[in-house]
């Protein structure tokens, strides 16, 4: 058997940042940690500020600057926004109204349950084109928007915005709730196509601006077409970064709560902020998500994985890892180099959930695991056919 050892990883191309006050693997349970720090998050802006700063490891990026300029300041800033937790109504055949109770949960399970409500119901971002699409079932299907068993659009809600105007907004579950499974990326969702369709109808020529492809979204307004794959949300407790370009370090579990809080603020055009008890609960819920698989950590397939892939996709980090320079991969480096949130790196993504995935690499350009091995990814290119078969068998157990 001939193997190519991913030498670039051994040469520290895969780097990682140690969390400031939370050590992954040593802190027994992320959710317990969150519960134990509830009062700090809810009541201590200095604590939240320090947690934000720990997560913004590239403070020079505009993405970070926006948050550092506005979040958890001694006075003023986004903390002063009104809380925004509107009653929402599901969109579809069986509309149902929901208002999320902001009472402080009293048990671990109650926190997670509250977070699940937030995941599916709190309007994260209003998008104008959704107003047009909701009355076009065929178009919705064409762009991968799903309906649930009641005939309601999964992860979409109606609500009144801060000015009392009725809007349609997507929730976390819209992109990360494939087939009703919280955390699973909807890899058929083509929001670029959805935008193009609506712009066409409005007589706007958007050219190739939204030619992103299914399962991807361009999250940077940098005048470049640099979509990235919608990620699964599995096993955050073992990961070091979020965002494909790793703009946010998971310095502690609070990083993800602050990430959610600021995301909701931006998604609502900075007209309000979510009650923090809700974003704290959402963090706990997301930390509770895993792929539900049980890979066997022994045997030839696992050994091959460790040898071929394990230096970057570390088994002890949810088969993901730290950072890898975009130049070390042969996939599109544009998103990693975006002027807004590009770090020059991609995070090494978790491979948990790979067995159910149809999109791979940072830009979802490869549609199968075998395709990854043959597409120039820096591993697996010179395996014997038997070894490749064994490796794929292991990968398909993740």
């Amino acid at each position: 058997m001939r193997r190519i050892v991913p030498i670039f990883c051994l040469l520290a191309a895969c780097t990682g940042q140690e969390p400031s006050d939370f050590v992954a693997g040593e802190t027994p349970d992320s959710i317990d940690w969150l519960i134990g720090n509830t009062s700090s998050y809810l009541e201590d802006s200095q604590w939240r500020r320090s947690e934000l700063e720990a997560s913004m490891w590239r403070p020079d990026l505009p993405y970070a600057q926006k948050r550092l300029d506005a979040y958890a300041l001694p006075s003023g800033g986004w903390d002063r926004l009104r809380e925004f937790n509107p009653t929402v109504t599901s969109v579809g055949d069986a509309p149902k109204s929901t208002h999320i109770d902001e009472a402080l949960p009293t048990s671990r399970q109650a926190w997670i349950d509250l977070g699940e409500q937030v995941f599916w119901n709190l309007p994260m971002r209003r998008d104008g084109y959704l107003d047009y699409l909701i009355d076009e079932p065929e178009l919705m299907k064409e762009v991968g928007i799903q309906t649930d068993e009641s005939g309601n659009i999964r992860g979409l809600v109606r609500y009144n915005d801060a000015f009392g105007k009725e809007r349609v907004a997507l929730t976390c579950g819209f992109c990360h709730g494939d087939q009703g499974i919280a955390g699973a990326a909807n890899q058929d969702l083509d929001l670029g196509r959805a935008r193009s369709i609506v712009e066409e109808r409005l007589g706007v020529d958007s050219g190739e601006s939204y030619h992103w492809g299914p399962g991807t979204v361009d999250v940077t307004d940098d005048n470049a077409n640099d979509p990235v794959a919608i990620p699964n949300l599995w096993n955050l407790k073992d990961q070091q970064y979020i965002n494909r370009s790793a703009a946010v370090a998971l310095a502690s579990p609070a990083s993800i709560a602050i990430r959610f809080e600021t995301q909701y603020i931006e998604g609502q055009s900075m007209t309000g902020r979510p009650p923090r008890v809700l974003t704290w609960a959402l963090a706990m819920f997301v930390y509770s998500l895993d792929a539900g698989t049980s890979p066997e950590l022994s045997g030839n397939g696992f050994d091959l994985f460790v040898a071929e892939c394990g230096s970057c996709h570390r088994p002890d980090q949810a088969f993901g890892g730290g950072l890898i320079p975009a130049t070390a991969l042969n996939s599109d480096p544009k998103a990693a180099n975006s002027g807004l949130r590009g770090t020059g790196f991609y995070k090494v993504p978790t491979l948990l959930g790979a067995s159910n995935s149809t999109r791979f690499m940072n830009n979802a350009a490869v549609e199968s695991l075998s395709g990854v091995l043959s597409s120039g990814h820096p591993t697996g290119q010179m395996l014997s056919s038997e070894d490749e078969k064994q490796l794929l068998k292991f990968l398909n157990s993740l």
Partner: protein, 235 residues
């Protein structure tokens, strides 16, 4: 919440800054004094967290006058990608370029894809013992990242964010802090208006200075940190 159209907006002289016009750098000395003046750091990028508007008013007799200042809360420069006619352009009078801005855009964000009105949320605090009267926004100035004044942006309306039923930003009681939002016409083409040699990537950011006046208090200012065009996809 009901909206209050600030008629003042229509009365503001729309000092469009054409490319040929002489651009002024950070220079606040002509219209403010003492602690009312904003930080004149020529590079706002390096001073992200020091709000210059928290300085106390130095009114010598706070018992007979209000003590007013303003603090930044949030804001953005809008997004006019799908409705460029709604945004500010330096070569057209505001009333023309934004012919529908007080209608379509204000009512429903232009009813299109990426079409959001620029806005800033801020507080006004009266820490004195006397009601502040005759409060108005005089101007909203936009500076690029080099500190150059590039536009005076037309005010559209001011909303009182604390009241279920809005009240005009015409007065503020003693010992009171109130939350307001001003909506204004943001740049239609920020990539041109705000382009500087030092701009990294495609941030389209600038600094906004709001000048307030009051009938029983000296003029005062609010200087924002860097604010940005609203993302097409905020995530």
């Amino acid at each position: 919440m009901k909206r209050l159209i600030l008629l003042l907006a229509l009365a503001i002289p729309f000092a469009a800054c054409s490319e040929d016009a002489e651009k002024s750098k950070w220079d606040f000395t002509e219209s403010c004094t003492g602690n009312d003046c904003p930080n004149t750091n020529p590079n706002p990028n390096t001073n992200p967290n020091t709000n210059p508007n928290t300085n106390p008013n130095t009114n010598p007799n706070p018992q007979t006058s209000p003590v007013l200042n303003s603090e930044f809360v949030s804001g953005h420069l809008g997004n006019y990608a799908s409705c460029p006619d709604e945004g500010y352009t330096p070569d057209a009078p505001a009333g023309e370029s934004g012919g529908a801005f007080a209608g379509d855009c204000a009512e429903d964000n232009c009813g299109s894809l990426n079409c959001d009105t620029a806005q800033i949320t801020f507080t006004i605090t009266n820490s004195g013992q006397v009601e502040g009267l005759g409060l108005e926004i005089q101007t909203i100035e936009l500076y690029d990242n080099d500190g150059t004044l590039v536009a005076e942006l037309p005010v559209m309306e001011v909303l009182d964010m604390d009241e279920d039923t809005s009240a005009p930003m015409s007065s503020i009681n003693a010992n009171t802090t109130k939350l307001f939002m001003v909506m204004f016409q943001g740049p239609a083409q920020p990539w041109e208006l705000l382009s500087t040699d030092n701009e990294r990537g495609y941030g389209h950011s600038g600094t906004v200075v709001i000048r307030f006046k009051s009938s029983n208090h000296a003029d005062f200012l609010l200087k924002s940190p860097l604010i940005y065009v609203l993302d097409n996809i905020a995530t």
